[in-house]
Amino acid sequence: MNYPYISKIVDTKTEAENIETILFNYSKKTIPGQFFMIWIPGVDEIPMSVSYIDKETKGITFRDVGKATNALFNLKKGDRIGIRGPYGNGFKIEGKHILFVGGGTGIAMLAPAIEETLDKKIQVTTIIGVKTKSEVFFEERLKNKGIELHVSTDDGSQGYKGFASDFASDLLKKQDFTSVISCGPELMMKNLLDVCKNIPYQASLERFMKCAIGICGQCCIGEGIRVCKEGPVLDGTTLKNIKEFGIYKRDAAGCKVKF
């Protein structure tokens, strides 16, 4: 039933400046790319993609950006939160060599997908794209796993200087990838869609969510595609037909907000 399960936080960890992980008891089967509705009692309930997947424990990793994430940020081991889900479709992980591009906090949800890709013996190249060095996280987690790992920063303080999508565009010219998977700012994901041309592409979208069970319509894009149900991961073919992709999203009232 789509009712919050009251779960205890079993651990928290700081991943980088302003980036926190919360691990909580939750045993429902969850695949990379899916998300939970996280209820912070008395504050809000927000969608959060899974960043750690274990049988009895799941985790979310986020930046402190607003009222809800700030409340989450301050929770401690033993505190209680409500969990609904997992919701959404998750990534399709197949092929010979996948390029993962995580922009901003996007790498949080890509990390478990990368780990699953490696379990399937599929070759992995990853780009972590952030504004500046202090925002890099999960580099340690992914480093020693036999993947090609790159970091790009807008200011050049670490790795490639520039946008992750430009760096990805260079890599796509030099190497053969069977698919590209991304999560990050929508403009970055839109740029990637353009540079991927015929390479199969998947992007995980973020929209304001309320019910998360496909009836309220808050997160709909294109011709009634429910990001909470048919998404949040959409493929390149679908994205090419969504006119607002990379153009606008809707706020809680349903007003269009340009990216």
Partner: protein, 279 residues
């Protein structure tokens, strides 16, 4: 699924005969913070809080629907007759085929049920909208009333073209572990299977007191549910929560079930079922 033109187009392509928009007010409203919806044993409990982008911004969605030749009933909510009139006129200008006056939202302060429980106000607002617009107007009424028949009659006296019954049932869920209401607004509206008998009773009661058509709504998810509402007096029905229970294709599925029931029971004309339970 009544938020934007794209989703309403999809619902239409799934077999709905027309679309009722989400309720639109003069200004944009974010609605209540989450949690705004939870599933309970026999239904869904929500307190969205009338989120909407405001009538000005919503025009684009209606125009897109009309460009696709989709019948649209524009739902509106206001705090007084002046607001309802302005909203109704705008909806009509955008091309809406009919209006639904939301006088029954159970959880919005100053709107909905707070207006719809006063028969005098219901008549005044209905009449004001009717005289300033030329499209059919339906008044959506609440089951959370002692005097539902009186309210429906007031809408008819105000020259409404139809009654929509029912809106969700005022309800609450308290979480045992956290010892607090789950919805941020505490009180919400219950919909789905649990409220169908309430809806059927309300439609039956309203049908005894008014001569205008009734649109039945509340817990409909099968063809049999539709038949039952029709027997109580409904000429048409609306489906919302059913999308959750039977998927987005519910509209076509229910129509098929309806047809099957008609064939199995030797009925050729569905309109002859309307109100038969009163005989």
């Amino acid at each position: 699924m009544d938020e934007d033109a794209g989703s309403m187009k999809r619902i239409f392509s799934c077999g709905a005969g027309g679309i009722v928009t989400k309720s639109i007010g003069l200004q944009s409203r974010e609605g209540y913070p989450n949690p705004t919806l939870v599933e309970l044993e026999c239904g869904l409990l929500n307190a969205m809080g009338l989120p909407n982008p405001g009538i000005k911004e919503f025009g684009d969605e209606i125009r897109q629907l009309k460009a696709a030749k989709i019948p649209v009933i524009g739902s509106i909510f206001g705090s007084d007759s002046k607001e309802f009139v302005e909203l109704g006129k705008q909806m009509q200008n955008y091309g809406a085929d009919a209006l639904e006056l939301n006088m029954s939202c159970p959880h919005a302060k100053g709107y909905g049920l707070e207006i719809g429980s006063d028969p005098r106000l219901v008549k005044e607002i209905t009449s004001a909208v009717k005289t300033s617009t030329s499209i059919p107007i339906f008044v959506k009424i609440s089951p959370n009333l002692q005097n539902i028949a009186e309210v429906a009659k007031s809408a008819e006296d105000g020259n409404a073209d139809g009654i929509v019954a029912i809106n969700s049932v005022k309800a609450m869920k308290i979480d045992l572990e956290l010892k607090m209401p789950v919805l941020s607004n505490k009180v919400g509206g219950y919909s789905g299977k649990a409220i169908k008998p309430i809806g059927v009773r309300c439609v039956y009661e309203v049908a005894q007191h008014v001569d205008i058509p009734i649109i039945g709504v509340g817990g409909i998810s099968t063809g049999n549910d539709v038949i039952e509402y029709m027997m109580a007096g409904a000429s048409a029905v609306q489906i919302g929560s059913g999308i959750y229970y039977r998927g987005i294709d519910i509209f076509k599925t229910v129509c098929d079930e309806l047809e099957q029931w008609m064939n199995d029971n030797g009925h050729k004309d569905a309109s002859r079922l309307i109100g038969v339970a009163h005989q």
